[in-house]
Protein backbone atom coordinates (compact mmCIF):
# COMPACT_ATOMS: atom_id res chain seq x y z
CA UNK A 1 0.00 0.00 0.00
CA UNK A 2 2.77 2.36 1.04
CA UNK A 3 4.69 1.45 -2.09
CA UNK A 4 1.62 2.15 -4.24
CA UNK A 5 1.26 5.55 -2.62
CA UNK A 6 4.91 6.39 -3.27
CA UNK A 7 4.63 5.28 -6.89
CA UNK A 8 1.43 7.23 -7.46
CA UNK A 9 2.84 10.23 -5.62
CA UNK A 10 5.99 10.20 -7.77
CA UNK A 11 3.94 9.95 -10.93
CA UNK A 12 1.73 12.86 -9.90
CA UNK A 13 4.76 14.97 -9.00
CA UNK A 14 6.46 14.02 -12.28
CA UNK A 15 3.37 14.91 -14.28
CA UNK A 16 3.17 18.15 -12.31
CA UNK A 17 6.75 18.99 -13.24
CA UNK A 18 6.03 18.31 -16.91
CA UNK A 19 2.91 20.44 -16.74
CA UNK A 20 4.89 23.21 -15.06
CA UNK A 21 7.48 23.13 -17.82
CA UNK A 22 4.81 23.34 -20.49
CA UNK A 23 3.17 26.13 -18.47
CA UNK A 24 6.46 28.09 -18.49
CA UNK A 25 6.84 27.60 -22.23
CA UNK A 26 3.24 28.81 -22.73
CA UNK A 27 3.85 31.91 -20.60
CA UNK A 28 6.94 32.77 -22.62
CA UNK A 29 5.10 32.17 -25.87
CA UNK A 30 2.16 34.31 -24.72
CA UNK A 31 4.45 37.20 -23.81
CA UNK A 32 6.05 37.15 -27.26
CA UNK A 33 2.63 36.84 -28.91
CA UNK A 34 1.38 39.83 -26.99
CA UNK A 35 4.33 41.87 -28.29
CA UNK A 36 3.74 40.56 -31.81
CA UNK A 37 0.15 41.76 -31.55
CA UNK A 38 1.26 45.33 -30.77
CA UNK A 39 4.21 45.29 -33.15
CA UNK A 40 2.83 43.50 -36.19
CA UNK A 41 -0.92 43.30 -35.59
CA UNK A 42 -1.20 47.05 -35.00
CA UNK A 43 1.94 49.05 -35.79
CA UNK A 44 3.11 47.23 -38.92
CA UNK A 45 -0.40 46.89 -40.36
CA UNK A 46 -1.02 50.59 -39.80
CA UNK A 47 2.38 51.54 -41.22
CA UNK A 48 1.63 49.51 -44.34
CA UNK A 49 -1.83 51.06 -44.66
CA UNK A 50 -3.60 47.71 -44.18
CA UNK A 51 -5.60 49.26 -41.36
CA UNK A 52 -6.34 52.98 -41.12
CA UNK A 53 -4.07 55.18 -39.02
CA UNK A 54 -5.45 55.67 -35.52
CA UNK A 55 -3.53 57.76 -32.99
CA UNK A 56 -5.05 56.15 -29.92
CA UNK A 57 -4.42 52.60 -31.16
CA UNK A 58 -0.82 53.48 -32.09
CA UNK A 59 -0.13 55.01 -28.67
CA UNK A 60 -1.72 52.03 -26.93
CA UNK A 61 0.38 49.60 -28.94
CA UNK A 62 3.57 51.43 -27.92
CA UNK A 63 2.49 51.47 -24.26
CA UNK A 64 1.65 47.74 -24.32
CA UNK A 65 4.92 46.96 -26.02
CA UNK A 66 6.83 48.93 -23.42
CA UNK A 67 5.12 47.03 -20.59
CA UNK A 68 5.67 43.64 -22.23
CA UNK A 69 9.34 44.23 -23.04
CA UNK A 70 9.98 45.00 -19.38
CA UNK A 71 8.81 41.44 -18.55
CA UNK A 72 11.10 39.56 -20.96
CA UNK A 73 14.11 38.94 -18.70
CA UNK A 74 11.98 37.63 -15.83
CA UNK A 75 9.61 35.54 -17.96
CA UNK A 76 12.55 33.87 -19.70
CA UNK A 77 14.43 33.19 -16.45
CA UNK A 78 13.72 29.44 -16.49
CA UNK A 79 14.43 27.08 -19.39
CA UNK A 80 11.24 25.05 -19.96
CA UNK A 81 13.32 22.59 -22.03
CA UNK A 82 10.43 22.15 -24.42
CA UNK A 83 8.43 24.15 -26.90
CA UNK A 84 4.71 24.81 -26.78
CA UNK A 85 2.73 21.98 -28.42
CA UNK A 86 2.25 22.72 -32.13
CA UNK A 87 4.02 26.06 -31.85
CA UNK A 88 5.46 27.61 -35.01
CA UNK A 89 8.26 29.33 -33.11
CA UNK A 90 10.18 28.60 -29.95
CA UNK A 91 13.07 29.84 -27.87
CA UNK A 92 16.51 28.43 -28.66
CA UNK A 93 18.31 26.64 -25.81
CA UNK A 94 21.02 29.23 -26.50
CA UNK A 95 18.90 31.70 -24.45
CA UNK A 96 19.90 29.86 -21.30
CA UNK A 97 23.42 29.05 -22.43
CA UNK A 98 24.07 32.79 -22.86
CA UNK A 99 21.40 34.34 -20.64
CA UNK A 100 23.51 37.45 -19.97
CA UNK A 101 23.87 38.09 -23.70
CA UNK A 102 20.16 37.42 -24.22
CA UNK A 103 19.30 39.93 -21.47
CA UNK A 104 21.72 42.48 -22.96
CA UNK A 105 19.50 42.70 -26.05
CA UNK A 106 16.62 44.14 -24.02
CA UNK A 107 17.88 47.64 -22.98
CA UNK A 108 18.58 48.74 -26.59
CA UNK A 109 14.99 47.83 -27.49
CA UNK A 110 13.70 49.73 -24.45
CA UNK A 111 15.72 52.72 -25.60
CA UNK A 112 14.30 52.46 -29.12
CA UNK A 113 10.76 52.41 -27.67
CA UNK A 114 11.48 55.36 -25.36
CA UNK A 115 12.94 57.29 -28.33
CA UNK A 116 9.77 56.97 -30.43
CA UNK A 117 7.21 57.25 -27.63
CA UNK A 118 5.09 60.37 -27.98
CA UNK A 119 6.70 61.21 -31.32
CA UNK A 120 4.39 59.20 -33.56
CA UNK A 121 1.91 61.49 -35.32
CA UNK A 122 1.32 59.96 -38.73
CA UNK A 123 2.02 56.98 -40.96
CA UNK A 124 5.51 58.20 -41.88
CA UNK A 125 6.67 58.60 -38.27
CA UNK A 126 4.99 55.29 -37.37
CA UNK A 127 6.85 53.56 -40.16
CA UNK A 128 10.19 54.95 -38.98
CA UNK A 129 9.36 53.95 -35.40
CA UNK A 130 8.48 50.43 -36.56
CA UNK A 131 11.83 49.96 -38.31
CA UNK A 132 13.82 51.41 -35.41
CA UNK A 133 12.14 49.07 -32.92
CA UNK A 134 11.95 45.99 -35.15
CA UNK A 135 15.69 46.19 -35.91
CA UNK A 136 16.29 45.73 -32.17
CA UNK A 137 13.78 42.81 -32.04
CA UNK A 138 15.75 41.22 -34.87
CA UNK A 139 19.08 41.60 -33.08
CA UNK A 140 17.77 39.05 -30.63
CA UNK A 141 15.56 36.93 -32.91
CA UNK A 142 18.47 36.27 -35.26
CA UNK A 143 20.14 34.15 -32.57
CA UNK A 144 17.49 33.21 -30.04
CA UNK A 145 14.24 32.64 -31.91
CA UNK A 146 13.78 29.34 -33.71
CA UNK A 147 11.26 28.41 -36.36
CA UNK A 148 9.78 25.02 -35.56
CA UNK A 149 7.67 24.25 -38.61
Amino acid sequence: MKRTLIVVGTLVLGAGAVMAQQEIAVQQDNLMRSQAKSMYGVILKMAKGEIPYNQKAADEAIANLEADVAKIAKTFEVNPKQAVVNATYGASPKVWQNKADFDSKIPPLQKAIADVKGKIHDVASLKAAYTAMNDRCNDCHETYRVKLK
Binding site: A36, M39, Y40, G41, L44, K45, K48, N79, K81, Q82, A83, V84, V85, N86, A87, Y89, G90, S92, P93, Q97, N134, C137, N138, H141, E142, R145, V146, K147, L148, K149
Partner: protein, 312 residues
Amino acid sequence: MESAMLRRTIYVILVTTVAAVAAYWWLTAPTALALPAPTRGPDLANGQELFNAGGCSSCHAVPNQPDRLRLGGGLALGSPFGTFYVPNISPDPNDGIGRWSEADFVNALTRGISPEGTHYYPAFPYTSYHIADIDDVRDLFAYLKTLPQVAGRVRDHDLPFPFNIRRNVGIWKWLFMDVRPFVPDAARSAQWNRGAYLVNGFGHCAECHSPRNVLGGVISSQRFAGGPNPEGEGWVPNITQKGLGSWSESDIADFLETGDMPEGDSASGSMRPVIKNLAQLKPEDRAAMAAYLKSLPPVDGPTPPKRREGGD
Protein backbone atom coordinates in the same frame (compact mmCIF):
# COMPACT_ATOMS: atom_id res chain seq x y z
CA MET B 1 46.12 -28.20 -56.08
CA GLU B 2 45.21 -26.13 -53.06
CA SER B 3 48.08 -23.72 -53.63
CA ALA B 4 46.99 -23.13 -57.25
CA MET B 5 43.52 -22.28 -55.96
CA LEU B 6 45.01 -19.93 -53.39
CA ARG B 7 47.21 -18.27 -55.99
CA ARG B 8 44.22 -17.74 -58.26
CA THR B 9 42.18 -16.24 -55.40
CA ILE B 10 44.96 -13.84 -54.48
CA TYR B 11 45.29 -12.87 -58.13
CA VAL B 12 41.53 -12.13 -58.41
CA ILE B 13 41.58 -10.09 -55.21
CA LEU B 14 44.57 -8.11 -56.43
CA VAL B 15 43.04 -7.34 -59.82
CA THR B 16 39.71 -6.37 -58.22
CA THR B 17 41.46 -4.10 -55.74
CA VAL B 18 43.50 -2.39 -58.43
CA ALA B 19 40.36 -1.92 -60.54
CA ALA B 20 38.45 -0.54 -57.53
CA VAL B 21 41.23 1.89 -56.65
CA ALA B 22 41.46 3.00 -60.28
CA ALA B 23 37.68 3.50 -60.44
CA TYR B 24 37.71 5.43 -57.15
CA TRP B 25 40.57 7.61 -58.38
CA TRP B 26 38.82 8.29 -61.66
CA LEU B 27 35.45 9.03 -60.04
CA THR B 28 36.90 11.33 -57.40
CA ALA B 29 39.35 13.25 -59.59
CA PRO B 30 38.55 16.98 -59.51
CA THR B 31 38.27 18.31 -63.05
CA ALA B 32 38.91 22.01 -63.37
CA LEU B 33 37.40 24.13 -66.08
CA ALA B 34 39.53 25.93 -68.64
CA LEU B 35 38.40 29.55 -68.61
CA PRO B 36 37.39 31.21 -71.87
CA ALA B 37 38.80 34.68 -72.59
CA PRO B 38 36.75 37.53 -71.08
CA THR B 39 34.31 39.25 -73.42
CA ARG B 40 34.25 42.52 -71.48
CA GLY B 41 35.83 44.36 -68.55
CA PRO B 42 34.61 43.70 -64.98
CA ASP B 43 31.36 45.38 -63.87
CA LEU B 44 31.80 46.14 -60.16
CA ALA B 45 28.18 47.17 -59.60
CA ASN B 46 27.04 43.85 -61.00
CA GLY B 47 29.62 42.10 -58.83
CA GLN B 48 28.22 43.83 -55.75
CA GLU B 49 24.65 42.88 -56.71
CA LEU B 50 25.68 39.22 -57.00
CA PHE B 51 27.67 39.41 -53.76
CA ASN B 52 24.43 40.43 -52.04
CA ALA B 53 22.28 37.93 -53.93
CA GLY B 54 24.79 35.18 -53.08
CA GLY B 55 24.80 35.96 -49.38
CA CYS B 56 28.61 35.58 -49.24
CA SER B 57 28.73 37.84 -46.21
CA SER B 58 26.37 35.70 -44.09
CA CYS B 59 28.96 32.93 -43.84
CA HIS B 60 32.29 34.58 -44.66
CA ALA B 61 32.12 37.83 -42.65
CA VAL B 62 34.07 37.70 -39.40
CA PRO B 63 31.50 36.74 -36.71
CA ASN B 64 30.54 39.07 -33.84
CA GLN B 65 31.61 42.33 -35.48
CA PRO B 66 29.38 44.73 -37.40
CA ASP B 67 31.17 45.07 -40.78
CA ARG B 68 29.64 42.64 -43.25
CA LEU B 69 32.41 43.35 -45.76
CA ARG B 70 35.25 41.98 -43.61
CA LEU B 71 35.37 38.49 -45.11
CA GLY B 72 37.98 36.95 -42.82
CA GLY B 73 35.80 33.89 -42.15
CA GLY B 74 35.93 31.82 -38.98
CA LEU B 75 32.23 31.11 -38.46
CA ALA B 76 31.60 27.56 -37.18
CA LEU B 77 28.93 25.90 -39.28
CA GLY B 78 27.41 22.82 -37.66
CA SER B 79 26.16 19.92 -39.78
CA PRO B 80 25.29 16.23 -39.34
CA PHE B 81 28.76 15.44 -40.73
CA GLY B 82 30.86 17.56 -38.40
CA THR B 83 31.73 21.23 -38.00
CA PHE B 84 32.87 23.34 -40.91
CA TYR B 85 34.94 26.47 -40.32
CA VAL B 86 34.25 29.07 -42.99
CA PRO B 87 37.43 30.17 -44.78
CA ASN B 88 38.86 33.65 -45.28
CA ILE B 89 37.82 34.99 -48.71
CA SER B 90 39.07 38.53 -48.17
CA PRO B 91 41.69 39.72 -50.68
CA ASP B 92 44.49 39.11 -48.15
CA PRO B 93 47.37 37.64 -50.20
CA ASN B 94 48.45 35.15 -47.53
CA ASP B 95 45.28 34.11 -45.72
CA GLY B 96 42.56 35.00 -48.21
CA ILE B 97 42.13 34.85 -51.97
CA GLY B 98 44.49 37.71 -52.83
CA ARG B 99 46.76 35.54 -54.93
CA TRP B 100 43.99 33.67 -56.74
CA SER B 101 43.63 33.90 -60.50
CA GLU B 102 40.25 34.48 -62.07
CA ALA B 103 40.25 30.84 -63.23
CA ASP B 104 40.89 29.71 -59.63
CA PHE B 105 37.85 31.66 -58.49
CA VAL B 106 35.56 30.43 -61.26
CA ASN B 107 36.56 26.82 -60.54
CA ALA B 108 36.01 27.28 -56.81
CA LEU B 109 32.60 28.89 -57.17
CA THR B 110 31.11 26.79 -59.96
CA ARG B 111 32.91 23.45 -59.57
CA GLY B 112 33.84 23.34 -55.90
CA ILE B 113 37.53 22.86 -56.72
CA SER B 114 40.32 24.67 -54.88
CA PRO B 115 43.33 26.27 -56.63
CA GLU B 116 45.36 23.27 -55.36
CA GLY B 117 42.98 20.96 -57.23
CA THR B 118 41.14 19.46 -54.24
CA HIS B 119 37.40 19.25 -53.67
CA TYR B 120 35.59 21.72 -51.47
CA TYR B 121 32.85 20.37 -49.22
CA PRO B 122 29.34 21.23 -50.41
CA ALA B 123 28.77 23.28 -47.25
CA PHE B 124 30.03 25.85 -49.76
CA PRO B 125 26.99 25.98 -52.06
CA TYR B 126 28.76 25.56 -55.41
CA THR B 127 26.00 23.01 -56.01
CA SER B 128 23.84 26.10 -56.68
CA TYR B 129 26.48 28.58 -57.83
CA HIS B 130 27.46 26.28 -60.71
CA ILE B 131 24.65 27.69 -62.89
CA ALA B 132 26.17 31.17 -62.63
CA ASP B 133 27.15 32.92 -65.82
CA ILE B 134 30.95 33.10 -66.08
CA ASP B 135 30.93 36.86 -66.68
CA ASP B 136 28.86 37.25 -63.50
CA VAL B 137 31.39 35.19 -61.55
CA ARG B 138 34.19 37.35 -62.95
CA ASP B 139 32.35 40.50 -61.81
CA LEU B 140 31.91 39.02 -58.35
CA PHE B 141 35.63 38.22 -58.18
CA ALA B 142 36.53 41.78 -59.23
CA TYR B 143 34.17 43.14 -56.54
CA LEU B 144 35.61 40.89 -53.80
CA LYS B 145 39.06 42.25 -54.67
CA THR B 146 37.88 45.75 -53.72
CA LEU B 147 36.96 44.70 -50.14
CA PRO B 148 39.28 45.08 -47.12
CA GLN B 149 42.08 42.57 -46.62
CA VAL B 150 41.66 40.63 -43.40
CA ALA B 151 44.64 38.71 -42.03
CA GLY B 152 44.28 35.37 -40.27
CA ARG B 153 43.99 31.84 -41.59
CA VAL B 154 40.95 29.92 -40.39
CA ARG B 155 41.43 26.53 -38.71
CA ASP B 156 40.66 23.27 -40.54
CA HIS B 157 37.21 21.72 -40.55
CA ASP B 158 36.45 19.32 -37.73
CA LEU B 159 35.04 16.25 -39.49
CA PRO B 160 35.18 12.58 -38.46
CA PHE B 161 36.24 9.75 -40.81
CA PRO B 162 35.20 9.18 -43.61
CA PHE B 163 33.99 12.76 -44.13
CA ASN B 164 37.48 14.12 -43.51
CA ILE B 165 38.73 12.59 -46.80
CA ARG B 166 38.18 15.28 -49.41
CA ARG B 167 38.58 12.86 -52.26
CA ASN B 168 35.25 11.26 -51.19
CA VAL B 169 33.51 14.50 -52.09
CA GLY B 170 34.14 13.47 -55.71
CA ILE B 171 31.75 10.53 -55.21
CA TRP B 172 29.26 12.84 -53.52
CA LYS B 173 29.37 15.28 -56.44
CA TRP B 174 28.91 12.41 -58.90
CA LEU B 175 25.86 11.20 -56.95
CA PHE B 176 24.15 14.46 -56.00
CA MET B 177 25.47 17.46 -57.90
CA ASP B 178 23.29 18.53 -60.78
CA VAL B 179 25.80 19.84 -63.31
CA ARG B 180 23.30 20.91 -65.97
CA PRO B 181 23.72 24.57 -66.95
CA PHE B 182 20.95 27.13 -66.51
CA VAL B 183 18.61 27.04 -69.50
CA PRO B 184 16.15 29.94 -69.71
CA ASP B 185 12.51 28.94 -70.24
CA ALA B 186 11.44 30.67 -73.45
CA ALA B 187 7.76 30.28 -72.50
CA ARG B 188 8.28 32.49 -69.43
CA SER B 189 8.97 36.19 -69.03
CA ALA B 190 12.46 37.68 -68.78
CA GLN B 191 11.59 38.62 -65.19
CA TRP B 192 10.71 35.03 -64.27
CA ASN B 193 13.91 33.77 -65.85
CA ARG B 194 15.98 36.32 -63.96
CA GLY B 195 14.25 35.15 -60.76
CA ALA B 196 14.89 31.48 -61.55
CA TYR B 197 18.56 32.29 -62.16
CA LEU B 198 18.94 34.23 -58.90
CA VAL B 199 16.93 31.85 -56.69
CA ASN B 200 18.57 28.66 -57.99
CA GLY B 201 22.04 30.11 -58.55
CA PHE B 202 23.53 32.87 -56.43
CA GLY B 203 20.60 32.96 -53.98
CA HIS B 204 21.07 29.22 -53.28
CA CYS B 205 17.67 29.22 -51.53
CA ALA B 206 17.17 25.48 -52.10
CA GLU B 207 20.25 24.61 -50.04
CA CYS B 208 18.41 25.32 -46.78
CA HIS B 209 14.79 25.20 -47.97
CA SER B 210 14.94 21.55 -49.16
CA PRO B 211 15.14 18.28 -47.23
CA ARG B 212 18.32 16.20 -47.63
CA ASN B 213 18.98 12.46 -47.68
CA VAL B 214 21.27 10.66 -45.21
CA LEU B 215 24.32 11.55 -47.30
CA GLY B 216 23.38 15.21 -47.39
CA GLY B 217 22.13 15.30 -50.98
CA VAL B 218 19.10 17.50 -51.69
CA ILE B 219 15.97 15.38 -52.31
CA SER B 220 15.11 16.87 -55.69
CA SER B 221 11.42 15.86 -55.70
CA GLN B 222 10.98 18.00 -52.57
CA ARG B 223 13.15 20.91 -53.66
CA PHE B 224 12.01 24.12 -51.84
CA ALA B 225 9.55 22.11 -49.68
CA GLY B 226 11.43 22.83 -46.42
CA GLY B 227 12.80 20.48 -43.81
CA PRO B 228 14.90 20.27 -40.67
CA ASN B 229 17.43 23.09 -40.35
CA PRO B 230 20.72 21.66 -41.70
CA GLU B 231 22.55 23.66 -39.03
CA GLY B 232 20.67 21.63 -36.44
CA GLU B 233 18.11 23.83 -34.71
CA GLY B 234 14.48 24.10 -35.70
CA TRP B 235 12.79 23.91 -39.08
CA VAL B 236 13.20 25.64 -42.44
CA PRO B 237 9.82 26.48 -43.98
CA ASN B 238 8.30 25.20 -47.21
CA ILE B 239 8.57 27.99 -49.82
CA THR B 240 6.62 26.24 -52.58
CA GLN B 241 3.01 27.35 -52.94
CA LYS B 242 2.18 24.68 -50.33
CA GLY B 243 3.76 26.98 -47.75
CA LEU B 244 3.44 30.40 -49.39
CA GLY B 245 0.06 29.96 -51.16
CA SER B 246 -1.50 32.83 -49.24
CA TRP B 247 1.39 35.23 -50.03
CA SER B 248 1.08 37.45 -53.09
CA GLU B 249 4.04 38.13 -55.33
CA SER B 250 4.48 41.56 -53.75
CA ASP B 251 4.23 40.02 -50.26
CA ILE B 252 7.21 37.84 -51.17
CA ALA B 253 9.16 40.77 -52.63
CA ASP B 254 8.42 42.87 -49.48
CA PHE B 255 9.51 39.99 -47.27
CA LEU B 256 12.83 39.68 -49.14
CA GLU B 257 13.44 43.37 -48.45
CA THR B 258 12.20 43.77 -44.87
CA GLY B 259 11.59 40.30 -43.43
CA ASP B 260 8.01 41.34 -42.69
CA MET B 261 5.42 38.64 -43.33
CA PRO B 262 1.84 39.30 -44.45
CA GLU B 263 0.43 37.25 -41.53
CA GLY B 264 1.98 39.78 -39.14
CA ASP B 265 5.41 38.60 -38.12
CA SER B 266 9.02 39.18 -38.99
CA ALA B 267 11.73 36.73 -40.11
CA SER B 268 14.06 35.31 -37.49
CA GLY B 269 16.99 32.93 -37.13
CA SER B 270 19.26 32.31 -40.13
CA MET B 271 16.84 34.13 -42.46
CA ARG B 272 17.63 37.43 -40.74
CA PRO B 273 21.16 37.76 -42.23
CA VAL B 274 19.73 36.65 -45.59
CA ILE B 275 17.27 39.55 -45.48
CA LYS B 276 20.14 41.91 -44.63
CA ASN B 277 21.81 40.86 -47.88
CA LEU B 278 18.69 40.86 -50.04
CA ALA B 279 17.63 44.29 -48.76
CA GLN B 280 20.67 45.64 -50.66
CA LEU B 281 19.49 44.27 -54.01
CA LYS B 282 17.91 46.30 -56.78
CA PRO B 283 14.10 46.19 -56.30
CA GLU B 284 13.70 44.57 -59.72
CA ASP B 285 15.89 41.63 -58.67
CA ARG B 286 13.78 41.04 -55.56
CA ALA B 287 10.65 41.29 -57.70
CA ALA B 288 12.11 38.74 -60.12
CA MET B 289 12.88 36.32 -57.29
CA ALA B 290 9.33 36.80 -56.00
CA ALA B 291 7.83 36.13 -59.43
CA TYR B 292 9.77 32.87 -59.70
CA LEU B 293 9.02 31.74 -56.12
CA LYS B 294 5.32 32.48 -56.56
CA SER B 295 5.33 30.13 -59.59
CA LEU B 296 6.65 27.09 -57.68
CA PRO B 297 3.94 24.40 -57.67
CA PRO B 298 2.80 23.21 -54.22
CA VAL B 299 4.91 20.30 -52.95
CA ASP B 300 4.49 18.52 -49.63
CA GLY B 301 7.68 18.55 -47.57
CA PRO B 302 8.63 16.40 -44.61
CA THR B 303 6.47 16.77 -41.49
CA PRO B 304 7.98 18.80 -38.64
CA PRO B 305 7.98 17.19 -35.17
CA LYS B 306 4.79 17.91 -33.25
CA ARG B 307 6.65 19.22 -30.25
CA ARG B 308 10.30 19.91 -29.70
CA GLU B 309 11.45 18.10 -26.57
CA GLY B 310 14.34 18.37 -24.20
CA GLY B 311 17.47 20.18 -25.19
CA ASP B 312 19.89 21.64 -22.74
